[in-house]
């Protein structure tokens, strides 16, 4: 169970859960572990299956953080739910493109676009 400071802000918009990262840098292993736990709890404990992850605040993201996103995606898909990512700045989008994870994730430019039809 995640403890300590909340690393994501969760908001319900209709039937969709919007989770926004509070950290600018998702780099540190310990933080990534906490962020991962808090994201997984949305699915495992709270039963949410339509999730938008908002990256507006995020300036840095490591491969360990990508690993947590992949695991979250698997969890959401296992519930037949949908996960979308939005508001990713260009440098970080490049990280997704280099690793081809832009093919795995459903990435939208804005939160409105991510919410549409989810």
């Amino acid at each position: 169970m995640a403890t300590g400071q909340r690393r994501i802000v969760v908001e319900e918009i209709g039937e969709v859960t919007v989770a926004s990262f509070t950290d600018k840098k998702i780099l540190d292993e310990a933080n990534i572990q906490v962020i991962g736990d808090q994201l997984f709890n949305l699915v495992d404990d709270d039963g949410r299956s339509r999730i938008v992850l908002d990256f507006t605040n995020v300036e840095y993201l490591s491969s360990a953080a990508l690993g947590k996103l992949i695991t979250l995606d698997k969890k959401v898909k296992a519930t037949r739910g949908h996960l979308r990512l939005c508001c990713i700045r260009p440098e970080i989008l490049e990280v997704f493109e280099i690793t081809r994870l832009n093919k795995l994730f459903d990435i939208r430019d804005t939160q409105d676009e991510a919410l549409a039809g989810l």
């Binding site: 540190d28 300036e59 490591s62 990508l66 690993g67 947590k68 995606d73 698997k74 990280v95 795995l104």
Partner: protein, 149 residues
Amino acid sequence: MSSTNDMSRAEEFSFIIPSETAAGLKVQETIIQKLQERGFSERDIFGVRLALEEALVNAIKHGNRSDHSKQVRVEGWVNATKLRVEIQDEGPGFKINDVPDPTADENLERPSGRGIMLMQAFMSKIEYSEQGNCVILEKAREVVAGEDG
């Protein structure tokens, strides 16, 4: 501008850190600060920060397996146009050719194995020692439009 002149202004640095990611972060911040002081671009700094994070985590977690009796050596230099960092752990090393391609369809959903690819993408040069427990990272300063030195 000659490279010899650049070299004469290089600032060298050297750290020995325990196998803890918090110690790795401090080194990362120190090196980033040196780039900021020299006016490296935000894009360069983004790439270097990402590559240092990946290399230090690899050394601490995969190389030394977070064994507190083992250390990581970080040394290098920075001048107005280039950064060079050498990171060595006390682990057995690995063969870079043995690392599966994380962009292959069959590996796309694996949660790990992307660090080396990101270092290669964002640094100008990345080289492993034969044993594979030492990585050399180099970043040449990006020439920003309108900046002629």
